[in-house]
Subunit: 102 residues, 2 copies
DNA sequence: TGACTATATGTCGAAAATGACATATATTAT
DNA sequence: ATAATATATGTCATTTTCGACATATAGTCA
């Protein structure tokens, strides 16, 4: 971005540096959220393929039905760790994970 | 496993059910730990490629040098979330992540 | 060698994620 | 329609992970 335009924008109250930072961070954040959503969907598919209820999967994971529901719903309080552990528990392999990402 | 052998093992104090559970859980645990280790190594590679010190990367992540060191060391207190977010912050894409898993 | 920079390790209070529970809402079967 | 089963949503105390800091241990270069 040229200096003149930057000046103009700054006059309107924009902080270029932080705006850039914001865009960069939000794109990283988006990638992260989309990743979690992808795993969520795959978790649900895996569970249904195995004809398990959320309750049954919860017992397998030593977790609770509500947490399984939140995993599948992409709830923000669910970590990648829990999603990945759950997929492994359902028999997914690293290769399967890789395919989910591609 | 046949019933006779199971009986014999049980006499020696083995709980077949729980032993099986243990093996299954430990293999899931192993997959999870190996995954984190893989990402750790890749994070270090990415950082070095970019010629960043742990301190600089920490600032980029709004984290601390010690946490970056722990990430790269595969410290158990480091989550997959943090590893993945960090890789994204270094410019890795989903495709790159997929390749790391393959 | 000794200053300097980078990385590793331990600890701690704060923040985030967890399982559990209650309960609401769908979905399915009779 | 209604009973039974499955899933969604909110809350909370406990556990885990966090950034930060102190400090130890490598490496690097004068």
């Amino acid at each position: 971005m040229n200096t003149a335009k930057k000046k103009r924008l700054e006059m309107k109250g924009w902080k270029i540096g932080t705006a850039f930072e914001f865009l960069k961070l939000s794109s990283e954040e988006a990638a992260y959220v989309e990743l979690k959503l992808t795993l969520s969907k795959n978790l649900q598919e895996y569970r249904r393929e195995k004809r398990l209820s959320q309750e049954q999967l919860a017992r397998l994971l030593k977790s609770s039905q509500s947490r399984v529901a939140k995993m599948e719903a992409g709830d923000p309080t669910v970590s990648l760790d829990l999603l990945v552990r759950s997929l492994f528990a359902l028999g997914a392999s690293r290769k399967h994970l890789a395919q989910m990402l591609s």
